[in-house]
């Protein structure tokens, strides 16, 4: 419930600084939710990444960009209708999903118990998530490291080239573009 309130506040505020701070609170609440749902590794990552890095990056981008959002011309009814219809369709689709927490769910049947049982005999380390991440499924983790590197290269390519001198539309003619 709290998450929905914070989420609505994030969407509705006009001042982007407030939206960034509320987004940090939202991420931290989600990290707490992950702890309640028994996901220790994921909670640590979400707290560090969502409440830390995402917020810092949004704030850093806000120093380079205007900090207020333009007032919308009016409420857009078609968009609201699309959102409500999609939500209703999803609610209808959800009724076939297995119920929450049942140990007999299909999710827990095939590979899950294999990992739970085989981690200690195969590797001798207690943390099952790290074992799956780095050994059973390590090609996925390699792909993820490459994705992070590519994102870093992309940001470097976008932001380290100094901008060209441009003639501003509303200013008098200063230096011409090269």
């Amino acid at each position: 419930m709290f998450l929905l309130v914070v989420g609505t506040a994030v969407v509705l505020t006009r001042d982007l600084l407030k939206a960034a701070m509320l987004f940090a609170i939202y991420s931290l609440t989600i990290a707490g939710l992950f702890v309640v749902l028994d996901a220790g590794d994921v909670a640590l990552t979400e707290a560090a990444v969502g409440a830390g890095i995402s917020t810092i990056l949004i704030l850093a981008a806000l120093t380079l960009v205007p900090g207020r959002e333009r007032q919308q011309k009016g409420h857009s009814l078609p968009a609201l209708l699309i959102v409500l219809i999609t939500g209703a369709a999803l609610v209808y689709a959800v009724s076939d999903l297995p119920e929450f927490g049942n140990p007999n769910n299909p999710v827990h049947q095939h590979v899950g118990p294999y990992y739970v049982e085989q981690t200690y005999p195969d590797m001798g380390i207690p943390n099952m998530v790290a074992a799956v991440l780095a050994s059973y499924r390590s090609i996925d983790t390699m792909g993820e490291a490459i994705v992070i590197l590519t994102a870093g290269i992309a940001v470097y390519a976008l932001l380290s080239v100094p901008p060209k001198r441009r003639r501003r539309r509303t200013a008098e003619n200063k230096d011409e573009s090269q």
């Binding site: 939202y26 028994d38 996901a39 994921v42 333009r70 939500g87 993820e144 932001l159």
Partner: protein, 123 residues
Amino acid sequence: MSALSLFNYWAVIGLMMLGYYCVIVRGNMIKKIIGLGIFQTSVFILFISAGKVLGGSTPILREGVSVYSNPLPHVLILTAIVVGVATTAVGLAIAVRVQEAFGSINDDDLDRLGYDSQDEDAA
């Protein structure tokens, strides 16, 4: 099957629709990126709540615990969180460049200004 046992999916759908609304309605690019973040985290909740076993605990082997939650969704979401922050970083860098090139990051302004700036450069 009672509807109450599916409440975690309803919370996920609510958050997902919030993020969706934010992405399609708000014109400011940074607000859209924040909305995308809300959407992403709602999907994470979907996966993690699907992997939980009632009465289980964190998937780290220790004394005195016999039932563990499924570690497989945790691995997926770990990767997804990191990829999500990567896309957020690149999206924010693009927004900064757009702001410098066109002077605004609002949708309506960009529609109007897009063609004008190209003519200016060609002139």
